[in-house]
Symmetry: C2
Subunit: 180 residues, 2 copies
Amino acid sequence: MRTLDFAVLGLVAREPSTGYQLAARMKWPVAYYWAEGHSGIYPSLRRLTDAGWVTVTAEAGPGPHGKKVYAVTPAGRQALGEWAVQPPVDPAARDELVLKVSALWAARPTAAIVMLAAEARRWEANRAELADVVGRLEEAGDPVGSAGWFSLQTALRGRDYARGRRDWCRRIARGLSGDE
Amino acid sequence: MRTLDFAVLGLVAREPSTGYQLAARMKWPVAYYWAEGHSGIYPSLRRLTDAGWVTVTAEAGPGPHGKKVYAVTPAGRQALGEWAVQPPVDPAARDELVLKVSALWAARPTAAIVMLAAEARRWEANRAELADVVGRLEEAGDPVGSAGWFSLQTALRGRDYARGRRDWCRRIARGLSGDE
DNA sequence: GAATGCATGTAAATCGTTACATGATTAG
DNA sequence: CTAATCATGTAACGATTTACATGCATTC
């Protein structure tokens, strides 16, 4: 089982869905911490079904293949909980923004400031979007330990991460401009 | 050219090195934002040489292949500067820790707290390490806009990122324990 | 009747990681 | 003389991404 299988399993366990719906749910707001296109999702669903962690219910639907609704089994839910408490292995870091900043000494300062300002705007937009999600989840007021409460925690982290990047870009741009 | 090629070019541009030395420099403290094993570096050096962005100087050395020192050319330095100010494309996010947290509702709370405490320790260690690097770079006092100053900026970001993750893990664990 | 959204799958190409492979130099 | 370090490369495997491929249902 790959990590992406547990990403899919986690979504199915929260709510039964079709592959298409899972792809849509992954686009937002899950995408900021785990993004997957549909071409990864369908083989994953196959593996989860073979393992007995999800069940399939074929329904009449659009397209040449019909429509299939997936749902967790008790074994799947247990496997998800056991996987979630295993220490995560974090893969090799690949942060292009930070890498670019480390090379900015070779660039024209004005061009560097333009790039950093654009990045700051991008991250501000991202921050605002996630702050919205946080607001809605806080209003929902799900109890501590529930699925909704954990969603709130992930959104909080996303918001703070985006804010951190925004501020970092701004600070470097200000430093380069000379008005510290 | 791949992003990794610019990672290699950036290091070579700061200081001429052998492939082996580049691999060592990437292990630390570059690794927290861009990690690469030696097996990616050698083909990369080949591409950079073919493009005329670095030069090779063969020297007598250990091993069946001798020793090769790489250095930037003016064209390579310019290409680095131009690449650095292009807006970065950030790839699909894959954050296993956040993904696990989003699935923690399916786990036993005590096991979840143990995992989160271990992660908090890991990030605290990482934070302390990078705080050290920040301290050393601050003492060096490189001028604004220099390579050293940009190194300081990347280290600052790494430190704050690690601190953010540590605090996040702690907060969730505290929330689950009930003593808010 | 045309466009958009729903829906599922496969194939090929690219990318990254791990394992394999070799051997000189230096310090203990 | 033995172990660690320096040093460079390739091959195989596994994962990921992009492109290909199809076609129903609904709305405008």
